[in-house]
């Protein structure tokens, strides 16, 4: 029977999840494997496990529960070991590394921040800031909307301005929030956001962090900012947080 692994914690973790349902249908009960100072949160792995909504949610829920009681290193979804012994072997082999990561992340949570433009508001902004766009728009309006070429020209100019604004807002957002976070990690791209960034935030600084998000919302009313957290530190399990936004590519 192969073993599904949710995360790794210290065996001294005060509230490791028990009597919880994990992945699979019916949900496989969550168990704890202990090896020295480390513990793995696991369950049996169902046959033919796929990234279905219910299973993704189970993975996240088990880790949230565990994370609420103490620091946990979350596994990426879908990690399956051949059996329990293979899990405890890995814990034994890499104990020092995992213990170091647990210490580094102790008392900290991940907050993921995604921002997108409120379309009408950002169009309003780029128009009010660009005499060129205003002139083009006014000319089109007087021409009953303008012909195809004129509309295309206006739209292209606006789109370029919106893209510049996206880049600018992404930098602003990151700068404003990295000041109150301990580490920053750019989230995976290509999901339709102008910014998708995770921040590692100390428990004691959570209110400060959320207040900083509010400040960004106020200073950038054309942005829709969504915050998810506290989360298990998915983006910070490995050392080496990503570089600050202004750092160029290294040679």
């Amino acid at each position: 029977m192969s073993t599904y692994v949710y995360g790794i914690a210290a065996s001294s973790h005060p509230a490791l999840p028990k009597d919880m349902g994990g992945v699979g249908d019916p949900a496989r009960p969550v168990r704890i494997l202990t090896e020295g100072e480390l513990a793995a949160i696991v369950s049996d792995a169902p046959e033919g496990l796929r990234p279905k909504r219910k299973d993704l949610l189970a993975h996240q829920t088990v880790l949230s529960e565990a994370g609420a009681g103490g620091v946990v290193l979350p596994m990426r979804f879908g990690s399956v070991a051949p059996d329990d012994a293979a899990v405890t072997e890995v814990l034994a082999e890499r104990a020092e590394h995992y213990l170091e990561r647990l210490r580094a992340l102790d008392g900290r949570d991940e907050y993921n921040v995604k921002a997108s433009h409120n379309e009408e508001a950002v169009l309003h902004r780029v128009m009010s800031e660009s005499p060129e766009i205003r002139a083009l728009a006014e000319a089109n309006r007087q021409a009953g909307g303008g012909n195809y070429e004129q509309r295309l020209q206006l739209g292209e100019t606006v789109a370029a301005a919106v893209q510049r604004q996206e880049a600018e807002d992404a930098v602003d957002l990151r700068h404003a929030l990295e000041a109150v976070a301990e580490a920053v990690s750019a989230g995976p791209e290509s999901t339709g956001w102008l910014a998708n960034v995770s921040f590692l935030v100390d428990h004691g600084a959570a209110e400060t962090f959320l207040a900083a998000v509010e400040d960004v919302r106020k200073s950038h009313p054309h942005l829709d900012v969504r915050v998810n957290g506290p989360l298990p530190p998915y983006s910070f399990v490995e050392p080496g947080p990503s570089e600050p936004a202004e750092t160029g590519p290294r040679v």
Partner: protein
């Protein structure tokens, strides 16, 4: 003790409303141990569609142009449209009627997708995101 506003606790509490927003973290971040295998993520590609790629397309240009013609600079970014704007809109829809062809039809489809994606971010409680819905639909087909 940390106090987190209720609407932001969803992700941490494991509520399904926050799942879409943290999906890519669950799938693309987190600890990987090379001694373990990872289940196949086949079927999840649909989540990778980028809404923003449409920004640099003819459809978007036309849509932006129309939106700009409708915008009332005096009214402020998030206020209800004033009377001059309404007049503008009537003129505008007249022009649209004349020029409406295959292209502007496509532009409206994109516009609809864009609008939906944006509204998902604003509605409270949040409806299930469009992409997550697609993923769920996929599951149900299995």
């Amino acid at each position: 003790m940390t106090v987190v506003p209720a609407q932001q606790a969803g992700g941490g509490g494991g509520g399904s409303s926050g799942l879409y927003d943290v999906l890519e973290l669950i799938l693309d971040r987190g600890l990987v141990i090379d001694a373990f295998i990872r289940v196949s993520l086949v079927g999840i590609e649909i989540l990778k569609i980028d809404v923003r790629v449409v920004v640099a397309s003819v459809d978007t240009y036309l849509r932006f142009a129309e939106a700009c013609n409708r915008l009332d600079l005096e009214a402020g970014p998030r206020k209800a449209p004033g009377l001059p704007d309404l007049v503008g809109e009537i003129t505008e829809s007249g022009a649209r009627g004349k020029s409406k062809g295959a292209l502007s039809g496509a532009a409206e489809t994109v516009s609809e997708a864009f609008r939906q994606a944006r509204e998902e971010g604003q509605a409270e409680p949040r409806p299930r995101a469009r992409k997550a819905t697609s993923a769920r639909r996929k599951e149900e087909q299995e």
